[in-house]
């Protein structure tokens, strides 16, 4: 059972990486980004293709990350350019259009033939309290923790971080003080795109490496982020990891085939609990 739970932590770490990015985008740019997973998958497939053609893994990964950073930045720029004043619901609908476009282009460019999936992290592991922890799990968990911590420090300690927090709390007041909104938005989107690519690259060896399937990794990540109501970075981390653990445990139970749908229950529970008092729609 414990070993099974541990096996779920790799997924959990990837969910957590995505969840933290979702929270970042939601809080700082007022968008629930349905296309976050697909942005990362795009870079991952760039990496797959380069690797398949014999490119060195390091270069392939680097260019893959760069591709996702670029796509993220581009999508963020379009959002800031044309939908800066739009409400959350419209901006999130825009990301649905982004998702459709990325899925379509992904299938078109990369085809549907299965590609060899390189492991970024070696196969070894360490013994810990009688449990075998694979390196990949350790790396993913480490990255997730590092990201949550890094984002928190960035927001606390840097001028751009203070700007972002100001923007998140009162966008109009921040603009009236001359905060460069557009540049910040593009930056956050580009960063989230890169992290998303990293998360997808790490989890890809454990999943069916299809563009569409991997793009929907954004859903368990949303469930994780909902544990912190899209506001708290630590809770998004915990939520992502928790969902991974639940999946791990479930894989040793009779419901194993459905383990990758259990996040839906977490999502429903988190939403219904958090919104239980929302008798009226917010502003209307």
């Amino acid at each position: 059972m414990l070993q099974a739970a541990l096996a779920g932590l790799l997924s959990g770490g990837a969910y957590a990486l995505l969840a933290v990015c979702l929270v970042l985008l939601y809080r700082m740019t007022g968008t629930l980004n349905f296309a976050l997973g697909a942005t990362g998958v795009f870079g991952t497939f760039v990496m797959f293709s380069l690797h398949e053609r014999g490119g060195p893994l390091g270069l392939a990964v680097g260019l893959g990350l760069l591709a996702s950073v670029g796509i993220g930045g581009l999508l963020g720029w379009a959002m800031a350019r044309w939908f800066a004043e739009a409400p959350l619901q419209v901006r999130s609908s825009v990301t649905i259009a982004y998702l459709i476009a990325l899925l379509t282009l992904g299938f078109w460019i990369f085809g549907t033939n299965p590609k060899p999936v390189p492991h970024l992290v070696g196969f070894g592991g360490v013994e810990l309290l009688g449990l075998r922890v694979p390196f990949a799990t350790l790396v993913t968990l480490g990255l997730a923790a590092l990201l949550a911590l890094g984002v928190a420090l960035f927001l606390q300690r840097t001028r751009a971080g203070v700007w972002l927090r100001a923007l998140a709390e009162r966008p109009t007041a921040a603009e009236l003080l001359g905060v460069p909104v557009q540049a910040l938005t593009v930056g956050v989107w580009a960063f989230a795109g890169g992290v998303s690519a990293l998360a997808v690259m790490l989890i890809a060896p454990n999943r069916s490496p299809e563009f569409g399937v991997l793009s929907l990794l954004v859903l368990p990540a949303m469930a994780g982020a909902l544990v912190g109501l899209f506001r708290s970075f630590p809770l998004a981390l915990v939520g992502g990891l928790g969902i991974g653990l639940i999946e791990g445990v479930a894989s040793s139970l009779p419901i194993a085939p459905y383990r990758q749908a259990l996040w839906f229950l977490v999502m429903l529970a988190a939403l219904l609990w958090s919104q239980r008092k929302e008798v009226w729609d917010a502003a209307r």
Binding site: I100, A101, L216, L219, A223, L271, E278, D281, R284
Partner: protein, 556 residues
């Protein structure tokens, strides 16, 4: 019901005649277009009318398809038509289940839940497999529907029935309620609409139609109902404005014609999705789909007569009777750490127009929100002696306590008649309708509200409230945004409300000229407490009140 234009009849004729004109491959495509149109229409009713989001419409279709496949694979002796209907019912049930979270979960959160459901359903379809899917058993159509032409007509019939049902609903009270919920749940509840019920009905109708479409598809593979398909469907529905029948037909047609054209050009059929992605971006930028924007551009400003002040000189404020209509006792409201109202008591008597005034932030709107049941409070509110505690806002509205809103919350997509009847909660007789329209200064009962100026909409809101024949009316700054002449004319009308409609009025207003014309007595709130109460002229001249408005030193 609106008249059906000549073009619609021609279009219908062409649709019916198609099987005689098309070769069989094209007829197959045309059948697919009809089913896709039905799916888009189901999404249009949900999103376009009720403002609810579903990113799992294809999964609901999958439920319908699964049921038909199940009957078929097990060769159960059930007529095909019945199979399809059972499939629709199954989808309807699941649709209501998906709708349940929507009673609390809204907007993007609802989108997340529904896309989550689509992913889970996709997993379930893949694991369970479609009955007969593995061995590739096609759905057997009964003898009457065996030919492609007959099946086409059958699907056309199903689509027309659903279009008709949808149109009928959209002009019914339920359809008006959906539009109200879409625009503002508070305004809907203030008109006595059961918001939860309206939402669940929307999900039920939409899911039932989606399930029906799924049963008609006759496809037996989980991949047909993948989440991506639901996303594209959502995009195409938003792009066209799918609650217009022509929009649904256009989207259905494009969803087959574009891939067909692409494949003839030697390109991947999937690239058609880019078109829908781009289309939905355009629609989001324009603030509406193709047919929505077209309808908005067609609309001409309606004829509105300005209200004139009565020729017999200024109407005198009416005198209160002895019977209390609305009693507020010890009302306190807190928002977190902010105490908005402290122990406020006031009584509204029969035949009275009572003014409620005070500086910004004095708690006037909080009082209206509390009394009408929109925010929790301590204290007691009685309507004709009956305590209202425990009643939801829509129940208070139905009990005869109506309110208006400071911001314009009329429902732009409704016609004046539909709005008035929705507000009244019943069909109005011609004299009643004429009277209400006259109050609003309107001539054409079918004028859509988005074609009206603010003044006319504000008067229409009041006219709707009065058409419901309430006992007590709370008007929250009804003259906001009106010109001086208009607001004075409105003030005179308000002064006549007790005599003409038998309702007592609590009028919140910042324009003192309006207050002076409409109210015999006023209550002044400041910092959440009653500062002064009494006859209007006396209170307005009181040094305390002048100080509250102008600051202390002027008064001193």
């Amino acid at each position: 019901m609106r008249r059906v234009s000549g073009w619609s009849w021609i279009g219908l004729l062409v649709l019916v005649a198609l099987p005689g004109l098309l070769p069989s491959y094209w007829l197959f495509l045309a059948t697919g277009m009809l089913i896709a149109s039905l799916l888009t229409w189901s999404l249009g009713l949900l999103g376009g009318l009720a403002g609810l989001v579903s990113l799992c419409q294809l999964s609901l279709a999958g439920v319908g398809g699964w049921v038909v496949a199940y009957f078929n694979a097990n060769e159960l002796p059930v007529p095909f038509v019945l199979q399809v209907l059972v499939g629709a019912l199954a989808a309807l049930g699941i649709g209501v289940l998906i709708g349940l979270p929507s009673l609390r979960v809204r907007g993007v959160h609802l989108a997340v839940v529904s896309l989550g459901f689509a992913a889970v359903a996709d997993l379930a379809f893949t694991l369970l497999n479609f009955p007969g899917g593995v061995i590739g058993k096609p759905v057997v159509r009964p003898g009457l529907l065996a030919s492609d032409a007959a099946y086409y007509w059958f699907c056309l019939g199903a689509l027309l029935v659903c279009l008709g049902l949808g149109l009928w609903l959209s002009h019914s009270r339920l359809g008006s309620a959906w539009r109200a919920v879409k625009h503002s749940e508070r305004a809907a509840a203030a008109m006595g609409i059961n918001v939860s019920g309206a939402k669940l009905w929307a999900f039920a109708v939409s899911a039932g139609m989606a399930g029906l479409a799924g049963g008609l598809l006759g496809l037996l593979s989980a991949s047909n109902f993948a989440p991506t398909g639901s996303l594209v469907l959502f995009a195409s529905a938003v792009m066209v404005g799918a609650h217009y029948p022509a929009g649904a037909l256009l989207a259905g047609g494009m969803s087959w014609l574009i891939p067909e054209a692409l494949s003839r050009l030697g390109l991947s059929q999937n690239l058609g999705n880019l078109f829908f992605a781009f289309g939905v971006l355009m629609a989001l930028k324009a603030g509406g789909g193709i047919f929505e924007v077209a309808a908005r551009n067609r609309a001409r400003p309606a004829v509105v007569r300005p209200l004139a002040t009565s020729p017999s000189g200024s109407a005198r404020p009416s005198q209160p009777g002895p019977k209390p209509v609305l009693e507020v006792q010890g009302l306190s409201v807190r928002y977190g750490t902010v105490q908005a109202l402290t122990q406020v008591s006031l009584t509204l008597y029969e035949g009275q127009v009572l003014g409620l005034i005070g500086p910004n932030g004095a708690g006037k709107s909080s009082l209206v929100d509390a009394v009408s049941g929109f925010v929790p409070y301590q204290g007691q509110v009685r309507l004709l002696g009956r305590p209202l505690e425990g009643l939801a806002s829509s129940q208070r509205a139905r009990a005869g306590l109506r309110r208006s809103f400071q911001q314009d919350r009329t429902i732009p997509e409704l016609s004046a008649r539909a709005y008035l009847e929705l507000a009244a909660g019943r069909t109005l007789t011609p004299p009643e309708l004429a009277e209400a329209l006259a109050f609003a200064g309107l001539e054409d009962p079918e004028a859509p509200l988005y074609a009206l100026d603010v003044g006319a909409r504000r008067r229409l809101e009041v006219a709707g409230i009065l058409a419901a024949r309430p006992k007590a009316v709370l008007l929250d700054e009804p003259a906001a945004g009106l010109s001086a002449a208009e607001s004075h004319a409105l003030a005179e009308r308000i002064a006549q409300i007790p005599a003409l409609y038998g309702a007592a009025v609590l009028l919140i207003e910042h324009d003192m000229e309006v207050v002076r014309r409409a109210c015999g007595e006023v209550v002044v709130l400041d910092f959440g407490e009653v500062l002064e109460a009494g006859p209007t002229a006396e209170v307005l001249a009181s040094p305390k009140v002048v100080a509250a408005y102008l600051g202390e030193e002027v008064a001193a």
